[in-house]
Symmetry: C2
Subunit: 138 residues, 2 copies
DNA sequence: AACTTTACTTTGACAATCAAACTATATAGC
DNA sequence: GCTATATAGTTTGATTGTCAAAGTAAAGTT
């Protein structure tokens, strides 16, 4: 098999395993995958407009509106007006939402530590470099 | 920031970007994300029992049953009895399903080529090694 | 000022999902 | 061999996630 094909399938396998892991983790908490994903994006990028959040999540703004309604209701997210564009609304995590984000992020961190435990320092460094470069190319 | 935290967030970002990409790709074809994911797993691992497939997809067998019904109806998947366990059913891709899988896999390959274009030979080799090791640790 | 675009919400229809109940088969313990 | 008990898959009812399309309001363009 060509090297690039092997790399391709390793990436797909990695993605699938992360996906399964996320499913399992979320199932144990009392929140849906879509909701925790929303919180993840806000937690790592900070407050943003509905449109931008919808684009990042890969869903329409119509879908996002009802999703945000639920998260506001649950106390994890707050809406506030955009300073300069009165059409826009900024959504952001509440304290409770930020707490949930950190909790979830800690689970991710523990996973990352687990799966990279067998890599040596140099490998980890190059992995980081590769990921950064790849993330820039999307 | 600690190196491991940086690595963690790069992994999450990579996962998110792959996820968005997959959403966008699937939207353009006439099939849902859940369905293409099912086809991906069967395409790369071959025929398997409902239970195993459900586990790999991170969904219940109840959900999978209706999903498979649709895919059988669309001609992408066929059910056949398990040779030795009469409770079990094997699901597998049809020729049409395999064609769809290859088409989708080619898109993944093109993406992989794109995002790794700026890596040199050594980096790509170590990336492959890291992914293999990480995939084994899940 | 009129037109067009953009941001968000609402609505109606459908797909995805789970939990729980159900059927059929397999396995374990006696 | 019987009788539990466990496992594989399906069905059902309820909920959630999703989109497309239509609606409202504000911003940008001409």
């Amino acid at each position: 098999m060509k090297e690039i094909e092997q790399l391709n399938h390793s990436i797909i396998e990695f993605y699938d395993k992360l996906s399964s892991w996320e499913h399992a983790v979320v199932r144990e908490q009392n929140i849906s995958l879509a909701q925790v994903h929303t919180i993840e994006v806000l937690g790592s990028h900070g407050a943003m407009r509905m449109k931008e959040l919808a684009d990042r999540l890969g869903i329409t703004t119509g879908t996002l509106t009802v999703q945000i309604d639920k998260l506001v209701n649950a106390g994890f997210i707050a809406r506030r007006p955009h300073e300069s564009d009165r059409r826009s609304i900024l959504v952001d995590l509440t304290d409770s939402g930020r707490h949930l984000y950190r909790e979830h992020d800690d689970l991710h961190l523990a996973l990352t530590q687990d799966i990279t435990a067998n890599l040596d320092k140099d490998q980890r460094k190059i992995l980081q470099l590769c990921l950064s470069k790849m993330n820039n190319e999307f």
